[in-house]
Amino acid sequence: MEAGQKPNPTEEALEHVPGAERSARIDAWWWLLILVIGAAILLITTMPDPYLNILQFVSDGLGVTVLVTAVSFILVLIIGMIGGLGRLAKNRIIYFISTLYVEIVRGIPLLVQLIWWYFAFPVVIQQLGILLKIQALADFQANPIAMAILGLVFCYGAYMSEIYRAGIQSIPKGQMEAARSLGMSYFQAMRHIILPQAIRVVLPPMGNEFIALLKDSSLVSVVAVADMTRRGREFMSTHFNPIEVWTLVALLYLVLTLFSARMVTWIEKKSRIER
């Protein structure tokens, strides 16, 4: 029984309750989106002097924010899967390394990690290059965006590892046993049987991670990446209008996160119907 019909009954039951939370959530989301976009449009059209200027000034930063988030998240999905499988490995060395990774990352603030990758890591590489007499390493120059993505991926990869681990562990043991007893290797069973089921379980927390990553990407503004937050700061330092700048930047972030949340719900719903 346990293997056959897990999440279906409760979820279907929920859908049949009139006025259940899902449609209520859609309403709230629409209202909020209309409110936020409306506010932004109102500000920009009625007071184009600071607001339209700010929008034009930070728009390339918006692109950087989206780019950094998207690239990081794709890499996080891959690193997280490797880390998650590592945390479940029977091999002690693999388990030890992945556990060490997760514990180190969890114990250090993301801001400090980003600063380390940008300011300290290149120096480590350069010193190493001098020590080993490898000129290419000694001349290593950090690209801010690359280092920022590295920092975000390193940190979020660890969190994602734990999500993958929990997702894989939530699949009943019998699924793996059945797959193995049909002659599948561990990796075949993971790929065809366990992960497709685990992904569905972890979609909601993964969506949350995406939104958290989107918001935390604002931290890369301290390591010379011209994202939306940094562009906002640049505009403010020349025009001295903090209220206008940060209100608009906040609204722009809100639009991004609202759309992301919607997308996550949509993907969740789609994968559920597929069952």
């Binding site: 029984m1 056959g4 019909q5 019998g174 007893s181 049909l182 002659g183 075949q188 089921q197």
Partner: protein, 245 residues
């Protein structure tokens, strides 16, 4: 009679402090139907799971169809030849009944999609539920799920079928439909090792009944002989409990 297909020699297996198997040896011939009975905790399921190496054992030897279970390569080779049916069905929840039957054929046996589906459709018809091909396990009754699980194992063309309490999780009215499939298999000459307390099935199909207690085989005999005239006191006690109803 026929040649040996499973050879188990002196297996010891422990779970932590519990000694699950203490020196079990058992030979199964090709085409034989062996039913293992015994009180819970006697090691019958563990023994069954050792045959396709779902459980590791500390010492002893098992060879299936002449292949010793000693390397990863051999274990996978053996698993292809040994079908396993579980108490809790363990159908792949994200796949339809048909896909449950085709996935291992395609991934492990490397069969083409059309070929795998042909085999699968024929097997679903054989277990009596061709109309459920495109239904997911969650929408099937327990008896239907177990029949799909049997068909899934058969799709790999195994030489041996292992059944681990296949009817214990079923409602009474569904037990028969599963046992009918198993009986038909036995009649076709499939080698079967079955852990079960279904006495009707055992009487009708078993060549040999094994009685296990505390990790050992206490005695073995054809069903009539064992049920009517057990030689051990422990067997008598156990049988009096399960035969009385």
């Amino acid at each position: 009679m026929a040649e040996l297909i499973i050879k188990i020699e002196n297996i010891y297996k422990r779970f932590g402090r519990v000694q699950a198997l203490r020196g079990v040896s058992l030979d199964v011939k090709k085409g034989e139907v062996v039913v293992i009975v015994g009180p819970s905790g006697s090691g019958k399921s563990t023994l069954l799971r050792c045959i396709n190496r779902l459980e590791q054992y500390e010492s002893g030897k098992i060879a299936v169809d002449g292949i010793p279970l000693d390397s990863t390569k051999n274990i996978n080779a053996v698993r292809m030849e040994v079908g396993m049916v579980f108490q809790s069905f363990n159908l792949f929840a994200h796949l339809t009944a048909l896909e449950n039957l085709t996935i291992a054929q395609r991934v492990v046996r490397r069969r083409k999609k059309e070929e795998a589906e042909k085999t699968a459709i024929a097997l679903l018809a054989k277990v009596g539920i061709p109309e459920k091909a495109n239904v997911r396990p969650g929408q099937l009754s327990g008896g239907q799920q177990q029949r799909v699980a049997i068909a899934r194992a058969l799709a790999m063309n195994p030489k041996i079928m292992l059944f681990d309490e296949p009817t214990s999780a079923l409602d009474p009215e569904m037990i028969k439909e599963v046992l009918d499939v198993m009986l038909a298999l036995a009649k076709e000459g499939m080698t079967m090792v079955v852990v079960s307390h279904e006495m009707g099935f055992t009487r009708a199909a078993a060549n040999r009944v094994i009685f296990m207690d505390e990790g050992q085989i206490l005695e073995q005999a054809p069903p009539d002989k064992l049920f009517s005239n057990p030689s051990h006191e422990r067997t008598k006690q156990f049988l009096s409990k399960i035969l009385s109803h």
